[in-house]
């Protein structure tokens, strides 16, 4: 480990380079955003994965990784890679199994003090109303025709079905729908898995969390986003459920064949991909977009039931409650975007796998509300520490194709976490710190305890100091629903 680590070259306080000669076949270097503290947590295998991605055809600039990097399927989680649309590739491994796993944040007009007395009721009702855990089903049962509309319309489908308001859509990345989804390129199996899971949270690190703002780093920006100290917020972290998992599984097989068909040489079969202009790539892109749209419909439905739960428990009128969407980001997705390369605008396919888009002020893709501030970036932490709101920056456009980190990143495997939690009462420990947790899983609380993750504050400090996004507020958990 130590010998290999020497081959990384520190560029500045927040970045190390994986030089082009780290492995033969790299056409660009790798750049990992870590300070000297987080560098110590780097796994050899995830560094190798950054280097492997640098060998893929048509990669532009550098194979990038965020400070929450850890080993993933083919591509490291926390990875960002952009490819030319004329000579590059697209790869399902660069997106991940949970297509458009992402985060949305709602604000409220309530303060922490107003919510604390009803917190237990709120958590119980949310746990009941929003299905989570293994084998959980949503409350919706969709026909095939409706499923196809979900694929095409994304969050817009949910709004049309009465879940939320048209104004919500402006505050979702891409308006809650990526054009170009083709429902006919999604397998029957994906439809079967997806039809009963819309409106469910899933399991693992997915959650729904009642939080409050305990620290403001940028008063002006917080005000512009409608955020204030002690304000209660709700964060929802989930994705496209079995629908997206199946799309990924299906297209990994398609890509395995494409690799042979087009004679692409790969350092790792998990990087299976196809030339962006090939029919296989077009099909995957269209199916992936359908799954991304499913995820946005999912988060929209869950947000709607969250609002209803708050109204029911607190007995407040919606306008008094003031629960509105701040933003919704995708952190597992591939998107066709325009970026400036050597002073020229180029169309690229940007893979973000465990990385969040972080567009700057003035970017044409941002809604009017955020044209001046830049795009809100939502970074969930573990259930015991904190989460963050940041804003995108111009520097991210130059350094990372407008991308930043996505979360804390694990430091303990699930088994290590379970071992360390033995003899402890995680639920009780959290409760003593004012955090109520409900979870269906037999070992979720141990697996997901704070110690299993890097300290999110360190991760966020690196992206802030590197200038690829800037801190606005910190959110502390109060009530957590986990799968």
């Amino acid at each position: 480990m130590a010998v290999e680590a020497l081959r990384l070259r520190r560029l500045d306080a927040n970045r190390v380079e994986v030089p082009k000669d780290y492995k033969s076949g790299m056409s660009v270097p790798g750049i990992i955003f870590v300070d000297e503290v987080l560098e110590k947590d780097l796994e050899q295998k995830s560094i190798d994965q950054v280097a492997n991605v640098a060998m893929l055809p048509g990669i532009v600039g550098a194979s990038l990784a965020m400070p929450d990097i850890h080993m993933g399927y083919g591509f490291a989680i926390g990875g960002v890679a952009a490819f030319r649309t004329d000579s590059g590739i697209i790869s399902p491994g660069g997106v991940g199994y949970d297509i458009n796993c992402g985060v949305r944040l709602l604000r409220s007009s309530l303060t922490r003090e107003e919510v604390v007395p009803r917190l237990r009721d709120l958590v119980q009702v949310l746990y009941r109303e929003i299905p989570s855990g293994v084998g959980s089903k949503g409350k919706l049962r969709l026909t095939r025709q409706e499923m196809e509309r979900v694929c095409r319309r994304g969050a817009g489908w949910a709004v049309e079905a009465g879940m939320g308001e048209a104004a919500d859509l402006e505050r979702i990345e891409s308006g809650g729908v990526i054009d170009g989804a083709d429902p006919s390129l999604v397998s029957e199996k994906a439809y079967e898995r997806g039809k009963s899971q819309l409106g469910s949270l899933g399991s693992g690190n997915h959650f729904l969390e009642i939080q409050y703002i305990d620290e403001i780093y940028d008063e002006d920006a917080a005000r512009a986003l409608g955020l204030f100290r002690n304000q209660v917020t709700v964060m929802i972290h989930t994705g496209s459920r079995g629908f997206g998992h199946q799309v990924c599984t299906d297209y990994l097989e398609v890509m395995e064949k494409a690799v042979r068909k087009y004679g692409i040489s790969l350092p790792d079969r998990e990087l299976a991909c196809a030339p962006f202009q090939s029919p296989e790539a077009r099909d995957y892109l269209a199916a992936m977009r359908a799954a991304a749209n499913y995820a946005w419909a999912n988060r929209q439905a869950i947000m709607h039931w969250t609002r209803e739960s708050f109204i029911g428990v607190l007995g407040l009128a919606p306008n008094r409650l003031g629960m509105s969407l701040i933003y919704d980001v995708a952190h597992n997705v591939a998107k066709v975007e325009e970026h400036e390369i050597d002073g020229k605008k180029e169309e690229l396919v940007v893979h973000r796998k465990g990385a969040t888009r972080a567009f700057p002020p003035g970017h044409p893709e941002l809604p009017q509300a955020y044209r001046k501030t830049g795009q809100p970036v939502l970074i969930p932490g573990d259930m015991g520490r904190a989460s963050f709101v940041l804003l995108g920056s111009q520097s991210a456009m130059r350094q990372t194709f407008g991308s930043t980190c996505h979360g804390a990143g694990r430091v303990l495997s699930r088994h290590q976490a379970i071992r360390q939690a033995r003899g402890r009462f995680i639920r009780r420990e959290l409760e003593e710190r004012g955090i109520l947790v409900m979870s269906a899983g037999r070992e979720t609380l141990a697996e997901e305890m704070s110690e299993a993750y890097k300290d999110i504050s360190n991760v966020v400090d690196v992206v802030h100091n590197a200038g690829i996004s800037r801190k606005v507020v910190r959110l502390r958990p109060m009530g957590v629903v986990k799968g």
Binding site: Y73, V134, G135, S136, E270
Partner: protein, 137 residues
């Protein structure tokens, strides 16, 4: 035959073995259900029959387990005792005895998104067959 879980950062692995390749497949199937819930909590109330084809033992294993994940998510079926009915020539046919998953009776284990090719191993080790497979969770 038997199985154990393997420590993998961020995901979960399974090591399954048996005296024959068939036995190892049985272990892997039971082991996978053991990740989803506690096998002891499952009763043999019904059975399903699943066939799968693949051009290698590895492909067969990944494909079959993904099929069983699919059946779990769409039919709620959790298995306890797999019996291999046909095996060979790139094909496996298995009957699995188990029941419908009910959250009230069955502890919630891990939500498996997919069986993957990541770190996949199917090999003869001495007198036994052993396989290692990682699930994305």
């Amino acid at each position: 035959m038997g199985y154990e879980t393997v420590d993998v950062m961020g995901d979960v692995g399974l090591r399954a073995w048996g005296e024959t390749l068939q036995e190892a497949f049985r272990s892997a199937i039971a082991g996978m259900y053991g990740l989803i819930t506690d096998l002891d909590s499952i009763e043999e109330k019904k059975s399903i029959e699943v066939s799968h084809q693949g051009d290698s033992p590895e492909g067969l294993l990944v494909g079959l387990l993904n099929e069983l994940i699919y059946i779990f998510e769409t039919e709620d079926f959790v298995g306890k005792r797999p019996e291999i009915e046909e095996f060979g020539e790139g094909r496996i046919k298995v009957r699995i005895f188990g029941e419908e998953f009910e959250r009230e009776r069955h502890p919630s284990g891990l939500l498996l998104k997919a069986a993957t090719y990541h770190g996949l191993k199917v090999e003869k080790m001495g007198s036994r067959w052993q396989m290692e497979i990682i699930f994305d969770i």
